[in-house]
């Protein structure tokens, strides 16, 4: 039984990272009905910048917590600017173009970010060897590390803040109005262009934090790390019901747990025929099953197609 709970703990940690990235997808989709394919790569940029900056600062003799906090702040800032630029250059001019066009620019941007990152950081895996603390607690054979608690706690805090922002602020009200109908929001005096920009900026900031968490958790970063993470986060958003904030949080955590449990048990269930090297398949299987049986996701609302 301790294996089970251990995998649940690992899954919740992983899932909280997915949830933060999923929030970025779901906010953008909710407002513009656009899959921001480059979002995963924003995560990657955030992760690699934090990695380099903290290495640099530690080299300069700063203490680890201070260096890490500065690194997180720098990467959040850079990603916010990046998110804003992406929206401005690649999506805004295409607001009224056929739906395939922004999808292709998104793919192009994703590729562009990856290749630029490959130029800057190289193609090899960069190790991140500094851990804040190695403290961990063991309870009935289940080990929980301080890092896992930190990741989980910080993402819960961020999710709470976002929730508050969306439901109890002027910007949040504007965002919800724009999501319901851009035209009507405009009639009510909402500057929808600015709201969309701000949505991208907020999503990118969350992505940066998620990237830092990912790099610390796996202790390694690479220019391709955003792709799979982004895809899984998108799955999480769909699982919870895309466009729905609560859904993205729930979907992220759930997907993390499903993946961890799947990877932990697939070997036993299939008597060793499939191993944990199939763990990435689970996210896609979940995605396909959800879309077939419950296309609106767990918490999504029904939409009726009109002619």
């Amino acid at each position: 039984m301790s294996t089970f709970w251990q995998q649940v703990v690992n899954g919740l940690t992983l899932g909280s990272i997915y949830a933060l990235v999923a929030l970025g997808y779901t906010m953008v989709y909710g407002i513009m009905e656009l899959i921001n394919f480059a979002h995963g790569d924003v995560v990657m940029v955030g992760a690699l910048i934090a990695l380099s900056v903290s290495e640099l600062l530690i080299h300069q003799g700063l203490s680890l917590p201070l260096a890490l906090s500065i690194a997180i702040m720098v990467s959040v800032l850079v990603c916010m600017v990046l998110g804003w630029t992406i929206e401005k250059i690649a999506y805004r001019p295409l607001r009224h173009a056929p739906k395939l066009a922004p999808l292709i620019t998104a793919i192009g941007l994703s590729l562009l970010l990856q290749q630029i990152a490959a130029l800057i950081w190289g193609k090899s895996y960069l190790p991140f060897s500094h851990t804040l603390t190695t403290t961990s607690w063991s309870w009935h054979g289940v080990v929980i590390s301080a890092l896992q608690l930190d990741i989980f706690g910080l993402s819960l805090l961020l999710m709470f803040l976002l929730w508050h922002l969306v439901h109890h602020s002027k910007l949040g009200r504007a965002m919800r109005a724009t999501a319901q109908s851009v035209a009507f929001a405009q009639l009510m005096g909402v500057n929808t262009d600015r709201v969309i920009s701000q949505t991208f900026v907020i999503g990118s900031a969350l992505a940066a934090v998620a990237g830092v968490m990912d790099v610390m958790y796996y202790a390694v970063g690479n220019y391709t790390m955003g792709f799979l993470l982004g895809l899984k986060a998108f799955t999480a958003a769909v699982l919870g019901g895309i466009g729905n904030l609560k859904g993205a949080m729930l979907g992220g955590l759930l997907l993390g747990v499903v993946e961890a449990l799947g990877a932990g048990y697939i070997g036993d269930i299939t008597h060793g025929f499939f191993g944990s090297n199939y763990k990435d398949v689970f996210a896609f299987l979940v995605l396909i099953l959800v879309l077939i049986f419950k296309p609106n996701g767990l918490l999504g609302s029904n939409t009726q197609e009109k002619v």
Partner: protein, 342 residues
């Protein structure tokens, strides 16, 4: 008519001109671009005609290639002839297409794109891992020593000798692939103008309206998926026989994206557009590869790795193209009109 004949002559002479001016490697690049053209024509059926966004199209190419590889290599010791394996590969790929299509056709646009993307990745993960406990695909190493493309005693991968004239292997392959491309092209242009093609376009423009005028939308969408996948499988088989080696590396998401870009950039649902798009995008990266030499000439050293640079240029081209001309380079008349209205 006269124009057509001169075009045909030009196409037939092209490999010889390239062979003697630029060398064998460039003819090889053209061979590969013909394979890409076949793939784009197949994807064009799915995306261009029926309007179903497929981001995992390379999976069908992979199925065709692995079918060929498994049925004519030392992997299982099976060496079947080309004319048996190619259809098997095509049918297998078509079945996979229907298999993917059947449960997912209720989905629309972006959702369908993501599911097909997931499907493509699942196929690749399986190809990568189906090496133990039963070794089927040989894992990441892939399958090598695949039999060359051959009909009886004619082996296309080797040079042919007719009296005094020796036809180099790359040119052989060129003619073989050209034949396959022309057949695919005729097939899809006939499809486009048939009842089926009109049904697809009706579905693409408005699915609900199409079903209201009595089009069995589900059946036609499945047909599009199946036929598109069949074309992909066919070119996959040719790829395996040409290359003599397949591995999961060749079937990444990047390739699916590349083919989609060829179709969209050229002009969706319009065969001349698809031709231009796929030739341009498959040859452009090779030209950009040459930048290493230019950089050395200009700066005395290679400043930016050409492999990176060509992908950066490629990505920029995609973004700029969509911003400047979202309907594609050579759009069909219908589509151009649509874009002007908006």
């Amino acid at each position: 008519m006269k124009k057509n004949i001169s075009l045909l002559v030009a196409v037939l002479l092209l490999p010889w001109l390239l062979y003697f001016s630029a060398g064998q490697s460039w003819v090889r690049i053209i061979d590969f671009s013909l394979l890409y053209l076949m793939l784009s024509l197949g994807l064009n059926v799915v995306v261009g005609y029926a309007g179903l966004l497929d981001l995992g199209y390379i999976a069908f190419f992979a199925v065709g290639a692995y079918c060929y590889a498994l049925l004519s290599s030392p992997q299982f010791g099976i060496h079947w002839p080309l004319l048996v394996i190619l259809p098997i590969g095509a049918v297998c790929a078509g079945l996979f297409g229907v298999l993917l299509g059947a449960p997912t056709l209720r989905l629309k646009g972006d959702y369908l794109a993501i599911v097909t993307l997931g499907f493509g990745e699942i196929i690749r993960i399986f190809l990568n891992n189906l090496s133990s406990p039963v070794n089927i695909t040989n894992g990441p190493q892939g399958i090598s020593d695949i039999d060359p493309l051959h009909l009886g005693s004619i082996v296309f991968n080797h040079g042919l000798v007719f009296g005094d004239i020796r036809i180099p292997s790359v040119i052989n392959i060129y003619y073989l692939f050209l034949l396959a491309v022309i057949i695919t092209m005729i097939f899809s242009s006939r499809l486009e103008r048939s009842r089926v093609g009109r049904a697809w376009m009706a579905i693409r423009e408005d699915e609900l309206a199409a079903s209201c005028v009595g089009i069995h939308t589900k059946r036609y969408k499945l047909l599009a998926f199946g036929l598109g996948a069949t074309m992909g499988g066919l070119s996959g088989g040719l790829f395996a026989g040409f290359q003599g080696f397949v591995s999961p590396e060749s079937f990444t998401l990047m390739e699916s994206v590349m083919i989609l870009c060829m179709v969209v950039l050229g002009g969706m649902g319009h065969i001349p557009g698809v031709i231009v798009g796929s030739l341009l995008l498959s040859i452009l990266p090779e030209v950009l590869r040459e930048t290493a030499g230019w950089q050395r000439g200009l700066f005395g050293q290679v400043i930016v790795d050409p492999a990176n640079l060509r992908l950066i240029m490629f990505a920029l081209a995609l973004v700029v193209m969509m911003l400047v001309r979202p309907e594609g380079l050579i759009p069909s008349a219908l589509r151009r009109k649509e874009m002007q209205h908006e």
